[in-house]
Symmetry: C2
Subunit: 775 residues, 2 copies
Amino acid sequence: YCYMPEILCISLNTHLYNVPFFTVPLARAHGKSFAHRSDLRQAKRIVVKLGSAVVTRGDECGLALGRLASIVEQVAMLQNQGREMMIVTSGAVAFGKQRLRHEILLSQSVRQALHSGQNQLKDMSLPVLEARACAAAGQSGLMALYEAMFTQYSTCTAQILVTNLDFHNDQKRRNLKSTLHELLRMNIVPIINTNDAVVPPPEPNSDLQGVNVISIKDNDSLAARLAVEMRADLLIALSDVEGLYDSPPGSDDAKLLDTFYPGDQHSITYGTKSRVGIGGMEAKVKAALWALQGGTSVVIANGTHPKVTGHVITDIVEGKKVGTFFSEVKPAGPTVEQQTEMARSAGRTLASLEPEQRSDIICALADLLTERKDQILSANKKDMEHAVSTGRLSPAMLKRLSLSSSKLNSLSIGLRQIAVSSQDSVGRVLRRTRVANNLELEQITVPIGVLLVIFESRPDCLPQVSALAIASGNALLLKGGKEAANTNRILHELAQEALSIHGVKDAIQLVSTREEEEDLCRLEKMIDLIIPRGSSQLVRDIQRAAKGIPVLGHSEGICHVYVDHEASVDKAIKIIRDSKCDYPAACNAMETLLVHRELLRTPLFDQIIDMLRTEHVKIHAGPKFASYLTFSPSEVKSLRTEYGDLECCIEVVDSMQEAVDHIHKYGSSHTDVIVTENEDTAEQFLQQLDSACVFWNASSRFADGYRFGLGAEVGISTARIHARGPVGLEGLLTTKWVLRGEGHTAADFSEQGSMTYLHENLPVARVLPGRRTTS
Amino acid sequence: YCYMPEILCISLNTHLYNVPFFTVPLARAHGKSFAHRSDLRQAKRIVVKLGSAVVTRGDECGLALGRLASIVEQVAMLQNQGREMMIVTSGAVAFGKQRLRHEILLSQSVRQALHSGQNQLKDMSLPVLEARACAAAGQSGLMALYEAMFTQYSTCTAQILVTNLDFHNDQKRRNLKSTLHELLRMNIVPIINTNDAVVPPPEPNSDLQGVNVISIKDNDSLAARLAVEMRADLLIALSDVEGLYDSPPGSDDAKLLDTFYPGDQHSITYGTKSRVGIGGMEAKVKAALWALQGGTSVVIANGTHPKVTGHVITDIVEGKKVGTFFSEVKPAGPTVEQQTEMARSAGRTLASLEPEQRSDIICALADLLTERKDQILSANKKDMEHAVSTGRLSPAMLKRLSLSSSKLNSLSIGLRQIAVSSQDSVGRVLRRTRVANNLELEQITVPIGVLLVIFESRPDCLPQVSALAIASGNALLLKGGKEAANTNRILHELAQEALSIHGVKDAIQLVSTREEEEDLCRLEKMIDLIIPRGSSQLVRDIQRAAKGIPVLGHSEGICHVYVDHEASVDKAIKIIRDSKCDYPAACNAMETLLVHRELLRTPLFDQIIDMLRTEHVKIHAGPKFASYLTFSPSEVKSLRTEYGDLECCIEVVDSMQEAVDHIHKYGSSHTDVIVTENEDTAEQFLQQLDSACVFWNASSRFADGYRFGLGAEVGISTARIHARGPVGLEGLLTTKWVLRGEGHTAADFSEQGSMTYLHENLPVARVLPGRRTTS
């Protein structure tokens, strides 16, 4: 019962070795593989296969310790979560090679080389080491290292050496299985390797520059075989390739497949072989498909990428898009990559429509919102009921989720406003220059391309953003929250119905709620701009996840109201109340109130404090304010705090200039307000302050696209390039330069050339683009 | 001679243990520490000190294997470079704790716990382990692990255990030193630790939540002592803090010090203690200063940061800005961080000047360029002579480095053009809206903030970029190449002289050539926009290095010329020749020529080929073109190639539409040209193609700010947000929203409120900003 087979060498017979493992019939068909990556979280029994490229160093002498250690860390973590982990490992040859090389050097009496202060081991010419000897010499060290490493995580390991023959004999197979089951039951991680020392001499392999290595071709199939035999839920095969490409990686069109279905096999061309070890992609795929058929899910991924090695295994088990996932179940709809392609293509047609046609589409959508009211509200009711029954949403969130007849009506009105403004957005001529005779330049507005909008529970966001995208000629990917799934689905259908009028149905795509936001943020070169609409936490997460794709938005709104000593009492009270209390969770709500020192102990100041108390605003004192008081409210931890609630910080400043300096230092460049009756002071504040919105005698709450008169708002940006402040249609446009000539060349304008630059500005107003004004 | 002291325990005496190592007088004063980080590359003998937080896991039971492995990898790499590496390590206690806990559990007959399928070790209550016993139990395992790891890199290690007393006795100290010298001579890495087993019982330490740990307070000072004793050039002390802050980390103003000078000690407030282990920041700094005084350079850095752990040691040795560098030599000028602060502050004043004042400054600079011609040219001559004598620059680079009287004259003329355009840049009103009665909104142009321009050898770039920055009211950091150091210095002096006219001398700063570009790209929150001007390799490097700061530019220019079947022969030949041959290295040169299929085997086609042959352009064939030919030129590897030389790819397309699709697929959205006489075809091409510049019957070489009439050019952007195509002044501006009210609040506009939105567009032309038009 307590017998621990620390080293278990199953008997061997070499002549059958070259039969691939996966041709041996399955002992018994078992469960089903997972349909989606997100299901992988449920995987209990997991086989991790480590290819030689993962385990060994670049020069194939010695192990890649950093990688090995981080893999051990992840495996131990998953084991400690209650999963049953097994490892199929390479690396004995490399370990042995390193060891034997050292031995040979020493026996060649080169000890003196060690004393030169330079490591000359690398430069020495060495006899070719026989790989089987290396494997034998390295096996013990490799296992010792695994054991030492796993010991750091209180995890016990066991060594299993197998050959193909062990799977051919029923008795042996039963023995192997029962041993492995016993190990798993005892919470031990079995480490499995082929018994390389007893295989026939390897054939020389020209791919590896004549280096004599052991044919461990079948570590892939060994892992597959073991996974199925042990009814593992998941097989993770790590090597130095990213996964499966549809054509050889490196070729112009090669695309990494996120998910691969058995039926797709004819559609791919295999890529290059792994640098180290044997077993090209084709062999890996064969083994993977075999395991899949046997009911084990498979992910093939790169275990050598420095940036992800530390979490590649745990990421896969968390369902993230790493490498290629092998799935038997082909989902009904297109993948998100296909959706993006469809959106871009239809978006290009959308951009080439006449402005009136885009306007038509938006009006049609506005109509549908009221015509199909019942359908929308019944879908919304479903979402509401589900949300109430699960009790996961706060009352505020529930309110944002719910739609009503009147909400749909005002949405519809808003859309019609966007339709009007859309007439003058795409293709507008911003600049027109006569560069030379018959050489005319135009700068015109064009759509940005493909937008990804990620929004939380509010479903009314969907038609709004759709209308903005249509108006600006952009393709759009929408990712809504799970809680609004039904509402979003019907709203998206209506948007597509409206788009169909002019044959551009696919320009707006709704991404499945299954997709992880983080994965979407990695679709570089497919998406041109990401717009997160929701909490500042959402924005921060997206900003962090988005690599190489710009994100429009702001993660912080630390807005200030500065009350000057020449402020009007009424205005100050009104503006402070509105800025703080109108909607404290908004990003444009006041967080810090700056008060001119002369106002301390004046009636105005007392009135401000009374008002804040009446409104139940919790007051924190800035360090300077606290120093003026005998009994002060709690002092702030940081002057850079966004409370987002009925709380604020009060700080004292000596002058308008000090207020400006304070805001530059602690603000987030969102919206800042001065309350004063002195116009000069106000204008200086407005001029000097470097925020996206600067207000005089007006509440910070006006920082909003609708209130600014921009129509619907895409978001508020605190970035310093592209759009800044509340962003409407214009933030969704970029420009292109159109030059029309008659065979003009740069050489014509050189010193020897016949032409000179005119650079004459031409009027741009109301001229249709695309027609030359002179000839 | 060949005696290898694998384990060397120096004798011990406990009663003197608590004397800190660094109070023991130096045996002998030696060399000088390095003045600059970049000198660290010369460090031959290096001590790496690994704090407990680095070596042990978060729960302090067991080692952080991934970190340890990557540290071993770096140390072995440096050792193999010929350096002499020594390690002072913690970790024995953690290793022993893990081991003893396991033993105790087993002896408590909890074997059955192992069979539950769950790892319950963590949940078990355990007796507090005596730290000295842990240390003794862990020491052997720790050393075995180090040895196993270093073995993978053919590196031999030796163990040294010391106590304070070993430094007090001259004879012992001599023994220790001679042992260490012998080890270094034999290319062995000594691994040094305090002999914890023999120290007096530790005092309980409340900072560590009552966990009973050994007082290893003095591993910092041990490392310092050893470094000085062994005349090490560099001591790298790794723990879990980023380095030294000027005030406690986490407070609003805390700033990580890049370099710390002994004289600055009074100006800092010490931060929190390291989470694991003993020895707060103050102790580390004391030890570091002591080592510095002894002639050893010191860097304190974080060895636990997942993103950099794999290269923290090698980065430090390469002179990168990691952690805090302790230096005795305070440089004369300000640090780059101080320069950025100065620039931002002066830049704000620059932005608040009247447009005429900014224009004055630019004109003054233009004057200075001609007035001080002799001075500039003599500095340039120095650079040229140096470049010629070292022979590092190619003839093309030399040409770009050289200035002449006539170059200065045209520079001066260009600056005057910028001065004119500067009149209408900052503070321009783009939009004006009457939001409600007495509530008026303006959108006005404002500078972006602080620009960092990195440019390669061309020194004429400096006055140009300076003028653009002044015109747009931006602060500017300039980083030029080493080869133009003298020229850049004088040009920068002249720029500051011009700025002084209006008291904003500091708005433009020249960064020392010592600074690494990569480090500058990390000054997030200090720099708002980076503009690399130079090779596409430079741009790519900067884009990769810039985290969180936008980069304006493009890394690829794969421009196409499409010759339609209705093209004019003359125009086609002229445009192709100019696009490819005028300046093949430019980003706007043609890389791929697309030819309509019907042109094959026509005289036009033959003429094109003849012309390309005459111009010595090497032709590569696209796959489709190759298939049409019996004997084709070499087929392209990728249709996405930027040759940047007298080479191009020719491909055949069936239609204008196919040309557009080809360019969308393989192009870089830079500049693409159609040659045709058919206006409809041309207009469709111009409309459909989604590149920054689309040309009809004009050479791709026109894609250039000067040729477009934008005045001087900042660069060409292929990004889809902010500026696109050739970027002039406008790309250096952003906007802010100014709202002027009379106590307006958002609540006034609610259903219960008294006001309604007007959103009336007001005329913007020629109204000075800042004054209300109505009352």
